[in-house]
């Protein structure tokens, strides 16, 4: 999202205010407002995540102040799970299997630093426009849509609170304009005094006895081990290239690309003896996953992008013995 802000600075309407660019400029100003809200607002509420015929409620609480930026997500439907982010550390509590997965979110500054500025801006890839106003969870909202200029990305529609810029609803649409995924707040309180207990895991104490899986993320250079990963899609820039643990036993390489809104991860890991690789495609809402085998490795492409995009990125992966 820092990346988004970064791109927003490059929006033509922002850089060259002109009368005829008023609508786009207005829409861009709204995106900046949403971004700023995402940096500073504390809130607590319940949202519904919809995807296909699946619909799930979750409780989310975030506290931002001078000392702390913490948030917690608690799934209210399906298998119990909690995600707590404390600064850059993300902990996923899974009580059913008595496991805590610990990972690091990318440090904010890495987004702008790693995404080259000169050849990318959100408006190169999307047509940004201001749409209707609507009332969501009791808030008057302004809708903003981002329509993709090519078939390599989905479209987005965002609804933000007119007063604060808080994002109340987000929808991802496919090339036929059908919603593939939607997040909507059904209840939300912005600001106010939020109890610190709300952002602590309810498993904080008992999880001390659980298994801890640490991602152990380190920077990596795949090219040195013979791998070439290149999305070959306009606007997709490399965000990060790392090595990490996955399922504890595996050492996996991960490269992430993003156009500022959509992101695609490429995972490369050696095939374990006896492991069966199911090559092909699977989907869950806006997320498509493309799996294939290459040079005795499994290449898994995961992204909230159309089938075509994850497949192309996967198919362009090459291995040359170093």
């Amino acid at each position: 999202m820092r990346a988004l802000a970064f791109f927003l600075l490059l929006l033509p309407g922002f850089a060259f205010p002109q009368a005829q660019q008023q609508p786009a400029q207005d829409a861009a100003a709204w995106l900046r407002k949403i971004y700023n809200a995402s940096l500073k607002l504390s809130y607590s509420g319940t949202f519904v995540y919809r995807q296909g015929d699946r619909s799930e409620s979750s409780r989310i609480t975030r506290i931002v102040d001078a000392n702390v930026d913490t948030e917690k997500l608690e799934a209210l439907d399906g298998v119990r799970r909690e995600i707590v982010r404390n600064g850059d550390e993300v902990r996923c509590y899974l009580p059913d299997i008595k496991t805590v997965k610990v990972d690091r979110r990318s440090r904010h500054p890495t987004f702008p630093a790693l995404v080259p500025a000169q050849n990318s801006s959100l408006t190169d890839q999307y047509v940004v426009s201001k749409d209707e106003t609507a009332r969501i969870a009791g808030y008057d909202c302004q809708a903003i849509s981002l329509k993709p200029k090519d078939e390599f990305r989905y479209g987005y529609k965002l609804w933000a609170d007119v007063a604060t810029g808080m994002l109340l609803k987000a929808r991802i649409v496919n090339e036929r304009g059908e919603a593939v995924e939607e997040f909507t707040f059904t209840q939300l309180i912005i600001g106010g005094n939020i109890d610190r207990e709300m952002v602590k895991s309810s498993f904080a104490v008992q999880s001390k006895q659980w298994k801890v899986e640490n991602a152990g993320v380190v920077r990596a250079d795949l090219a040195r081990s013979g791998w070439t990963v290149n999305p070959g899609i306009p606007g997709f820039q490399k965000v990060i290239e790392i090595q990490r643990q996955l399922r504890q036993a595996h050492r996996v390489s991960q490269v992430v690309y993003s156009d500022g809104l959509a992101a695609v991860s490429v995972f490369i890991e050696p095939i374990e003896s006896g492991q069966e690789v199911r090559q092909g495609l699977s989907s869950m809402g806006a997320v498509n996953i493309y799996t294939r085998e290459l040079a005795r490795h499994v290449v898994t492409v995961v992204g909230e992008a159309p089938v075509k995009t994850v497949q192309q990125i996967g198919d362009l992966v090459e291995y040359h013995r170093p």
């Binding site: 999202m1 820092r2 990346a3 988004l4 971004y35 995402s38 995540y49 995807q51 296909g52 015929d53 699946r54 979750s58 975030r62 997500l73 799934a75 399906g78 298998v79 799970r81 995600i83 982010r85 899974l94 059913d96 997965k101 990972d103 690091r104 979110r105 990318s106 987004f111 987000a170 496919n174 997040f183 990060i240 996955l246 399922r247 996996v252 991960q254 992430v256 993003s258 500022g260 809104l261 992101a263 199911r278 092909g280 495609l281 699977s282 989907s283 869950m284 809402g285 997320v287 996953i289 799996t291 294939r292 290459l294 995961v302 089938v307 996967g314 992966v317 090459e318 291995y319 040359h320």
Partner: protein
């Protein structure tokens, strides 16, 4: 026979039945006529673009000149009922169907030409037919790892982390 052809078009037949139906189609006659009629119906229902006349013949001719890159794609199994998740997107299913029909046409028109392309010096993707497969076993690990670096996570806080599979048998 007609319902077999309809099932064939929908990718609902097992491998053995597919072979039998393709054989029937190669023999022409009523099977082939039904096949064509069903496609005509399906095209008109979907408002598909009308192809120029003689397209099939030209396509078959060009296809015959090309080496077959892949072994025939596996037949997509009937979508497995997997509790509340994997509603495979319509688009994925559509693409799989296209890939399937594509591989079927190559068997149909090009039964005698089965060359396997030489492996190139660089190991690279073969243009694989899109087979719809179940989520990888570690899908939640991939999703969590991915989410950490998605700009959406900053935009919406930890909300997108809800995109993990909520089926307990998968939550490892």
């Amino acid at each position: 026979m007609k319902d077999r052809i309809s099932a064939l078009m929908d990718g609902e037949l097992g491998q053995g039945e597919v072979d039998a139906q393709l054989k029937a189609l190669r023999e022409g006659g009523e099977a082939l006529e039904t096949w064509r009629r069903y496609h005509l119906i399906s095209d008109s229902m979907r408002d598909s673009a009308v192809l120029s006349s003689g397209f099939s013949a030209r396509f078959a001719e060009r296809l015959a000149k090309e080496p077959t890159i892949l072994a025939p794609a596996s037949i997509p199994q009937r979508a497995q009922k997997k509790r509340m998740w994997i509603p495979v997107s319509a688009m994925a299913a559509g693409l799989a169907a296209v890939a399937f029909v594509g591989s079927m046409s190559s068997q149909f028109f090009n039964a005698d030409v089965q060359q396997v392309a030489q492996v190139k010096t660089a190991e690279r993707a073969q243009p694989a037919a899109l087979t719809v497969v179940p989520m990888p076993g570690a899908v939640n690990d991939y999703l969590l790892a991915h989410q950490n670096y998605s700009p959406r996570s900053t935009l919406q806080g930890v909300a997108p982390y809800v995109r993990t599979v909520s089926d307990s048998s998968r939550a490892r």
